[in-house]
Amino acid sequence: MVGCKSQTSSGGGEKLTIGLLPKSKGNQYFVTCEKGARLAAADLGAELLFDGPTNTDPAKQNEIVENWISLGVDVIAAACENKDGISTALKKAQQAGIKVVTYDADAQPDARSFFVNQATEQGIGDQLMDTAAALTGGEGEFAIITATLTAANTNEWIKYIKERQAAKYPNMKLVEVKPCDDQKDKAQQETTNLLSAYPNLKAVIAVCSPGVPGAAEAVKQAGKAGQVKVLGLGLPSENKAYVKEGVTQAVVLWKVEDLGYLTVQVAAAVAQGKLQAGATEFDAGKLGKLEIQGDNVLLGKPFVFTKENIDQFDF
């Protein structure tokens, strides 16, 4: 039953098997994560199993984790779409002796050993709100485009955006949070609607990567480039043109490939017992020594891509 790992796993038994679970496979963000993850796996000589949902069925992530439990992986690294739902499966993995870490979006704290966070949720929320305020002079209405209304990590970021706005920018007002289901076209249409429903809109913050080019295109088509600021968490490669044209003012992100790389490093270290609770820093191979806050391994601070530096990045 669920009590023991399968004996004939990972032929040879010495090679570490890591299961990497994205929120969804159809997202360039996670595809880039996987690239970094594979680099780390190659460096470490570990086997990387990558699988993820292709639609929004909440059961899929659980099923993949349970499949890995039965396959006998050594450690699972998961980006969690449904925080509580996935924790059910992750806890089962832990009970089976499999180590669990999370990345990008956390599970319940007792369902994993460490959370590889690109930055703290507060850091991300603050950075987005500060950038929006800086671009709009600290006043005006703004809207947020998110992926789904149910994803825990985007909701966390939105929460911190709201808190930051309340604390530092009382003259700004959040008018709407609209989901785009990770569809660029839908983000475009939602933003088009927002532009005419709220004629005084000053900024659009997109917290999901397809949302940033979608929102930008809508602003551009409405002829409001520069008047309505566009910023968000997006991939440089998807936003280069808009940033250069001045439609999108800032793309905030982190080195996504590094996130994947770090995740696998942490996963391997946890599986091999090299990283234990209570550690305050972690040696992440080519990334150097990184800070650990509590049980969060931090990649660093969010990075702001602008017209000046966006050409340097190709992901």
């Binding site: 039953m1 086997e47 199993l49 909440p58 659980n62 099923e63 993949i64 396959l71 739902g85 149910t150």
Partner: protein
């Protein structure tokens, strides 16, 4: 007493097992076999009750959305109104039955096409689920006793599998051994004829939709127990998978012929396919390990399997007709009308 179609399905299942045993990693390990069924019981339940609906010549596209609505109401009752999970489960099943009644009323009383009615309720039920949760809420933190329904084993088998066995037996008896069940095939084959034969077409057809809705509610409860979370997007796409299992099992989409045993085999074939591909870690396809693209592959293969099953069915039928025609030419009777 297996029909030809079912024999072929059994063979397909055996081939799948052999293939995955060879190519896959620990395919037949107890934990995996348990997973195969634990992960697919909900779809199996939908497939079982979709069968009588399709037998009548109808279809129900709203079952997946019904699951979402029942799951959300279940979560609400338990977390916000402190209702015991078992009582809430009864409520969820009743809600499903009620939704099924809605479909039944529109389809049988108002004589509206099932495809469009259930397309409307597909949207409506999901929409109500989203509205109830304001698009974002999810309910979790259910008592362990309830969660065991989805995660623990009873006598060595997953708990929900026992429920599935019971419902399979129940539906089989209803469809194949009751007057009601047998009337369904007559209704699907020739509704007017059934009416002249004294069958209450409207009521009998309607009951198929009510049953389907109720079991969708049950499936929702089981899924919530398995995930430990109730949310509005539970069950997305499940109705199409259920329909696939039913058609694969040999039931005619036009109604009038089919069997629960066929549906069961169709469902098992798909469940094994879905799982087996995700166990193949040592082989690559298109530069990727098969297990990383298991979902996509199983989707494509299921589509192809479905087409093959349909085409085979048509070919076999035309061969049988030709054989019958040849035989009837030996005896001098009226020429058989062309189809």
């Amino acid at each position: 007493m297996l029909a030809k179609h079912e024999t072929v399905l059994l063979a397909v299942i055996l081939v799948e097992i052999l293939l995955f045993q060879n190519l896959g990693r620990n395919f037949l390990a107890e934990s995996n076999v348990s997973n195969i069924f634990r992960h697919s019981v909900e779809i199996g339940l939908l497939a079982l009750v979709m069968t009588p609906v399709i037998l009548t010549g109808g279809i129900d596209l709203s079952l997946g959305s019904m699951m979402g609505l029942c799951a959300v109401v279940f979560g609400l009752l338990v977390k916000q109104f402190d209702v015991s999970p078992w009582l809430a489960a009864v409520a969820a099943i009743s809600l499903g039955a009620f939704g099924g009644m809605g479909n039944a009323f529109l389809i049988t009383r108002m004589n509206l096409p099932p495809l469009i009615v259930t397309l409307g309720t597909f949207s409506l039920f999901r929409g109500l689920a989203e509205a109830l949760t304001k698009g974002s809420e999810a309910y979790s933190g259910f008592p362990q006793g309830f969660l065991n329904l989805g995660n623990a084993n009873v006598l060595g088998l997953p708990a929900q599998l026992w429920v599935f066995f019971f419902i399979t037996l129940l539906v089989w008896v209803l469809v194949h051994r009751t007057v009601w069940g047998r009337s369904l095939q007559a209704i699907g084959f020739a509704p007017q004829g059934a009416r002249y034969a004294g069958i209450s077409v409207g009521r009998n057809t309607g009951m198929a939709y009510v049953l389907a809705g109720a079991i969708a509610g049950l499936a929702a409860v089981i899924l919530v127990a398995r995930l430990g979370e109730a949310r509005a997007n539970i069950g997305i796409g499940y109705e199409l998978l259920a329909i696939t299992a039913v058609v694969l099992g040999g039931t005619s989409i036009f109604g009038g012929s089919g069997s629960i045993s066929g549906t069961l085999l169709g469902y098992v074939a798909i469940a094994i396919l879905n799982n087996g591909l995700s166990r193949i870690t040592a082989h690559q396809i298109f530069d990727q390990p098969v297990s990383s693209v298991a979902r996509e592959l199983s989707g494509m293969l299921t589509g192809l399997l479905l087409l093959l099953a349909l085409a085979a069915g048509v070919l076999l039928k035309s061969l049988a007709i030709r054989r019958a025609r040849r035989q009837s030419l030996i005896t001098t009777t009226n020429p058989t009308p062309s189809t």
